[in-house]
């Protein structure tokens, strides 16, 4: 009944076929490659169009649309045109599982990808496993590599948070200081930072001198600053949500113009926010983890400019149409890289239809090196077929003149850890 291609209003997926509408309103492509008579490859995208993840969802869709356009213009995947079917999951795990069902059964998608929020991944992956549909997530959660999921769930397009956090410790210890006080929100996201970083900095001969957990509903922070030990050399902060501006403002008021520790944060706090926003002046000179530097680094590779142009992002990481509309730049490359991983493995496995899904997952598990190029603008990656997890290098940027300037890139090896699971030994 739904989304037939001949309805009164062609569905978006029909429109996307062969032309990639992009997110430029009114500019949808006039380029229509002439396809052979091949049936399109249908990729389901579990999109956070509404709900708490909507600000990310908007950019993930824009990135996926751009990758789709590029791939279709270059001949599709295995000679077949590609469609993306977007289904909104409301950033809700219960709806997430329904969306997996719908994309698989109703739309007949070949596989599903794009999921960002971990709780939606946790709610959806079991259903994908039951339906035996490849489920490629972009959530950076450690849940894939930890072994909590299943043979059908993989994360090939972004490094997980355990690796991201651990790889920061050598540079922080060597350049900012070894006595660290951590501020983190008091729930799982913050606990990952607390646990992984504490362990990693100790391995560098450093020490976390205080762990200060902030209740998620807190909107005023000054009273917590009194708990910062005087010996603190580095203040590690991963506050997120509406209170971030207040946190920075009050931290600035607390230290005034006097001596202060070095600040190190995760860009999650300010993803999609201009670092030159009035009120963030106190962050000047501080450092941030970035997976993909939003301000184009001076030494950026050749693919960087092409990727930005395709997605419609300028050299500052903002929309080409609005310099204030900063992208979720540090994360959204995962939608692009995952789509290219799909292309690579569909072609390598000779995948022809849903009967080949197992063969496709086995081809994915066989991937090891994912070299740098337009397919992977964030950087080269190594894929671990046993843990279903990709590992890439991470970046550290310094706020200079309100801009994030990349100062360091880690090696891939700095983020590696012992395998927690071998999915290839599990049955399909």
């Amino acid at each position: 009944m739904k989304t037939t291609l001949t309805g009164i209003a062609p569905s978006r997926r029909a429109v996307l076929t062969g032309m990639g509408a992009g997110l430029i309103a009114g500019s949808a492509g006039l380029v229509r490659p002439v396809w052979a008579q091949a049936a399109p490859l249908k990729l389901g995208f579990q999109l956070h169009a509404t709900g708490i993840g909507a600000s990310y969802g908007r950019w993930y869709q824009r990135t996926a649309d751009a990758a789709l356009k590029k791939i279709n213009e270059a001949g599709g995947i295995g000679g077949r045109p590609v469609e993306i079917v977007y289904e909104d999951d409301g950033t809700d795990p219960a709806r997430g599982a329904e969306v997996v069902d719908k994309l698989n059964s109703q739309h007949g998608c070949d596989l599903i990808f794009g999921t960002l929020f971990s709780h939606v991944v946790m709610g959806s992956a079991p259903r994908a496993g039951e339906l035996k549909v490849p489920y490629l997530v972009c959530s950076e959660g450690y849940h894939v590599a930890s072994g909590a999921l299943n043979r059908w769930t993989l994360q090939p397009g972004i490094t997980d948070v355990r690796s991201q956090i651990s790889s920061m410790a050598p540079w922080v210890a060597g350049n900012l200081g070894k006595k660290v006080t951590m501020f983190f929100p008091d729930y799982a996201f913050g606990y990952d930072h607390r646990d992984f970083f504490t362990k990693a900095i100790e391995a560098q001969g450093g020490q976390v001198v205080a762990q200060i957990a902030i209740p998620p509903t807190e909107t005023s922070y000054t009273r917590y600053f009194a708990q910062i030990p005087a010996e603190t050399e580095v203040l590690y902060h991963v506050m997120v949500g509406p209170g971030v501006l207040t946190f920075v403002k009050e931290l600035g008021e607390f230290y005034g113009s006097g001596a202060k520790p070095q600040l190190f944060g995760f860009i999650d706090s300010l993803e999609a926010v201009d670092t030159a926003t009035p009120g963030l002046e106190f962050l000047e000179g501080s450092h941030f983890w970035e997976a993909h530097p939003r301000v184009k680094p001076a030494d950026a590779g050749a693919a960087e400019g092409d990727y930005r142009a395709a997605v419609g992002v300028d050299d500052n990481g903002a929309s080409v149409a609005d310099a204030k509309d900063v992208a979720t730049y540090s994360h959204m490359f995962s939608a692009w890289e995952t789509l290219h991983f799909i292309k690579q493995t569909v072609e390598a496995s000779g995948y022809a239809g849903v009967a080949d899904r197992q063969k496709l997952v086995e081809a994915m598990e066989a991937v090891t090196d994912l070299p740098y190029g337009i397919e992977r603008p964030q950087g080269a990656k190594v894929f671990n077929g046993k843990t279903h997890q990709a590992f890439g290098s991470q970046n550290i940027s310094k706020v200079e003149g309100g801009k994030l300037v990349k100062v360091h890139t880690t090696t891939i090896d700095e983020g590696k850890y012992d395998d927690g699971v071998d999915y290839t030994t599990m049955s399909f």
């Binding site: 989304t3 429109v15 708490i52 219960a94 450690y142 990952d192 993803e271 009120g279 149409a321």
Partner: protein, 449 residues
């Protein structure tokens, strides 16, 4: 859901955070603004009571002429537009931000049209999608009678508004195009059936959107009066129409209470305060599926509390004033508050999601058309983290809430009756002040989801 929650806590994997953009509003001295607004409302009431000098709130004739508007054209157009939108809802994209039905209904019918109606009077009425088919069917069936539905007063619309509010605020997926289309089609058919049986005039008391727009349009400073083939364009201060309305019936009062209570809860349910109360982490909101039960209770409680607060205010005022403060007329004041809340609550949705609607109207099939002649543009939310712009947005919300409450105070003074003891105004004024504080707090506090 409990099993899922357990799974989440047992798994080492973390949720990706940073869903909610940092809020510029939280860094503003909003406490001072709220205090100033509360004092303004209180002082307005005080001055009004002591000086007994209130704006006359009269309508002035702007233009009078023959009523040439072919009404059936508008009604037929409304019916056709709805049919087309429903078809798009069923057949179009599943992504709500790329489906014209979802976009037009939630940002057009529910936000832009009420905003416009608050300025130009009821704009739903000329395009009511039921009138044309009801009239046609009644002629075809040769049925001119009624079945007694009118005896139910406005209660059917109260039920409609209550159900709609639950669907909007609590249900799992109000944005899902096919789900929305199915619900709209079902509702349209039920109302069609009832209106064919009872007559098209029943829509004005039985159909919630028709009732909502008729009421909300009464605060408009511009309106039309149609009589005997003539149309008069009138202009006057907001509220000039309200003071001339007949006292509200019990079911009309219930309608206003449900509308106001729903708007209050719509805002409240997103606050960190509410999330904390129900044990949800706003930075990692589980999603609507986890809070359907508790938010249903919250919505019911909001209706109950709204009704109880207004009832108590009226009773106390009447006792202290030695009479007056009849509910029927005084409840009309709350129309202004409902209108102001609607603007304040949905303004940001209008300027964010409204961009998608504009895009979809310009290019309904997403194939590169430009029906509105708009140049290509990217959807852009950059202003949400721009302090200057967000302060302007807050100013709009502030003005809507404060303006609505000042109007409500003036209306209450006018409608309470004559020759009352001044003390009688204290409870209702206190209620207005509390509503001002609550409304502005909703706009100022940390919100998620």
């Amino acid at each position: 859901m409990k099993r899922l929650a357990a799974a989440l806590t047992l798994t080492p994997g973390a949720a990706l955070a940073c869903a909610l953009p940092p809020s510029v509003i939280l860094t503003l001295p909003t406490g001072h603004y709220i205090l100033a607004a509360a004092l303004t409302v209180a002082l307005t009431a005080l001055l009004g009571v002591l000086t007994d000098r209130l704006p006359p709130l009269q309508g002035h004739l702007l233009h009078e002429g023959a009523d040439l508007w072919p009404r059936m054209v508008g009604w037929t157009a409304g019916f056709i537009a709805m049919a087309v939108l429903l078809a798009i809802g069923f057949q179009g994209a599943d992504d709500p931000l790329h489906n014209l039905l979802t976009l037009v209904f939630w940002t057009g019918v529910w936000i832009a049209l009420p905003f416009a109606s608050m300025v130009f009077g009821d704009l739903w009425r000329p395009f009511n999608p039921w009138v044309a088919p009801v009239r046609a069917l009644r002629i075809a069936l040769g049925w001119r009678g009624s079945v007694g539905l009118s005896g139910l007063g406005h209660w059917p619309a109260v039920v409609g508004m209550a159900g709609f509010s639950w669907f909007q605020i609590v249900s799992l997926a109000p944005d899902d195009p096919a789900g929305l289309a199915g619900l709209m089609l079902g509702y349209w058919l039920v109302i069609l059936l009832l209106a064919v049986a009872e007559g098209e005039g029943w829509l004005e008391q039985g159909e919630f959107l028709t009732v909502f727009f008729a009421l909300i349009g009464r605060v408009a400073p511009v309106w039309r009066v149609r009589e005997a083939g003539r149309v008069q364009w009138m202009v006057g201060w907001p509220g000039a129409q309200v003071v001339r309305m007949a006292p509200l019936s019990l079911s009309q009062m219930a309608f206003i209470i449900v509308t106001l209570g729903s708007l209050s809860f719509e805002g409240l349910s997103e606050t960190f305060w509410w999330m904390g109360l129900i044990g949800e982490n706003p930075l990692e909101f589980t999603g609507r599926s986890a809070v359907i039960g508790v938010n249903t209770l919250g919505l019911l409680a909001s209706w109950g509390l709204t009704g109880a607060a207004i009832w108590a205010g009226l009773r106390l005022s009447r006792a202290l004033a030695g009479g007056g403060f009849a509910a029927g007329p005084v409840m009309l004041s709350f129309l202004a508050i409902a209108a102001g809340y609607h603007v304040a609550h949905f303004f940001v949705t209008l300027i964010t999601t409204g961009q998608y609607t504009l895009w979809a109207l310009n290019d309904p099939l997403f194939r590169g058309d430009s029906l509105l002649g708009l140049p290509p543009f990217y959807i852009s939310f950059g202003f949400l983290s721009d302090p200057v712009f967000m302060q302007a947005v807050y100013a709009v919300q502030f003005a809507a809430i404060l303006g609505a409450h000042l109007l409500a105070v003036i209306l209450t003074l006018k409608l309470a009756g004559r020759g009352l003891r001044n003390m009688g105004h204290l409870p209702m004024t206190a209620l207005m002040v509390l509503y001002t504080i609550f409304g502005l707090w909703l706009m100022s506090t940390a919100r998620g989801a």
